[in-house]
């Protein structure tokens, strides 16, 4: 039996028959894998042990004829235990794993694996606000799926100006110049959004002075984009 060795992060687990489970991993080099974990259902209690959520494992599997392979072994490599100290982080972790699973195909690229790994690492750091990790994840997903907003020029093609205020046009995924109003985004907030959509990780963004104070203002446009393109 040929076995393949890789790393994986569990996205979902479902039962299969009397004794088995199907575990979906995301990997750096094999996309998404659907693997049969034989006998994993013998005791309906896999909250602890080798097959554990919120962890990165070294896995070996035997590829199957069609889409379903067989999990041969799984060994914990990185665990993110602080996530489970906080119910809100646990729930957020699950929600983002499910979102990633829903939005990706089986032959997904390495960037999605790195995205979820970085996300779990960030959720594991209590000092990094949950909202930052959540918005950053959504910004990266929007970028990967080709829905990055225009953060350079406005809807008329005019370069965004530090002295003006704008609101966000979801149809054109860009900013429209507006008279000053409380709902408008300022130049500072747009700058913050550029950072959010950059390649910086949440831990790097966490060190940017003043960014976290802007998150509440960035949340509505990012959630709007997310509702349009990530659902």
């Amino acid at each position: 039996m040929r076995t393949v060795i890789t790393q994986g992060i569990i996205l979902t687990r479902v039962d299969y028959g009397e004794a088995d489970r199907i575990v979906t991993y995301i990997t750096p080099d094999n996309g998404k894998l659907h693997l049969m974990a034989k006998g994993a259902r013998k005791i309906k209690s896999r909250l602890a042990g080798g097959i554990e959520l919120f962890s990165l494992s070294d896995i070996s599997f035997a590829p199957g004829r069609k889409e379903l392979g067989t999990l041969v072994s799984a060994r914990l490599r990185e665990h993110y235990p602080s996530i489970t100290h906080d119910i809100e982080r646990v729930q957020q972790g699950y929600a983002l794993l499910k979102l990633l699973n829903r939005l990706t195909e089986d032959d997904t690229e390495e960037q999605y694996f790195e995205l979820i790994r970085t996300t779990l690492q960030s959720l594991d750091v209590p000092d990094i606000p949950l909202l930052l990790t959540d918005l950053w994840f959504r910004a990266r997903m929007l970028t990967f799926l080709g829905h990055q907003p225009n953060l350079i020029s406005d809807a008329e093609g005019v370069r965004l100006d530090a002295g003006s205020s704008y609101d966000f046009d979801i149809e054109h995924m860009s900013f429209r110049r507006r008279p000053d109003g409380s709902d408008n985004l300022s130049a500072g907030q747009i700058k913050a959004m550029r950072l959010l959509f950059s390649r910086n990780s949440p831990s790097q963004l966490h060190r940017v002075t003043g960014l976290e104070g802007q998150l509440a203002d960035l949340e509505p446009p990012v959630r709007l984009m997310s509702a349009h393109y990530l659902s």
């Binding site: 005791i43 309906k44 209690s45 489970t84 119910i87 809100e88 646990v90 729930q91 949950l130």
Partner: protein, 127 residues
């Protein structure tokens, strides 16, 4: 109406005793688990009709229990009443996912939910 088999997941032994008695007084058969792990064991031994679940448990949380619970086909439609010391507003960033994906029937904030209200909620499920 058949008496329901209630799986009560409550980590505090003192509260568990009070809630169990109150639900038994209503004619339900109540099994108590204090942890997520033992709750899965109990559910495996006796299929519950209703689950009453505290989210803030020792070690693995009620969230982890619920995600695991819902991955099993025979447990996907078991009504779950969350009865927790954690207020629901804590999950506001992922609330829809939380309620819909996990098929939560009712969310009760424990400090303001009386025994009468809990009993009425379980009774209303009319399994």
């Amino acid at each position: 109406m058949k008496n329901s088999d209630v799986l009560l997941i409550e980590p505090d032994a003192e509260l568990a005793s009070t809630y169990r008695r109150a639900l038994e007084d209503d004619g339900h058969n109540v099994r108590v688990a204090h942890s997520a792990q033992s709750a899965l064991h109990l559910a495996d031994e006796h299929q519950p009709d209703v689950v009453v679940l505290e989210l803030q448990l020792t070690d693995h949380s009620g969230i982890e229990f619920l995600y695991e619970f819902r991955t099993y086909q025979d447990w996907q439609t078991v009504p779950v009443v969350v009865h927790s010391i954690v207020p629901e507003r804590v999950f506001q960033t992922s609330r829809l996912v939380f309620r819909q994906e996990l098929n939560i029937h009712t969310y009760c904030y424990k400090p303001t939910t009386s025994l009468r209200q809990l009993r009425a909620t379980v009774h209303a499920l009319k399994v």
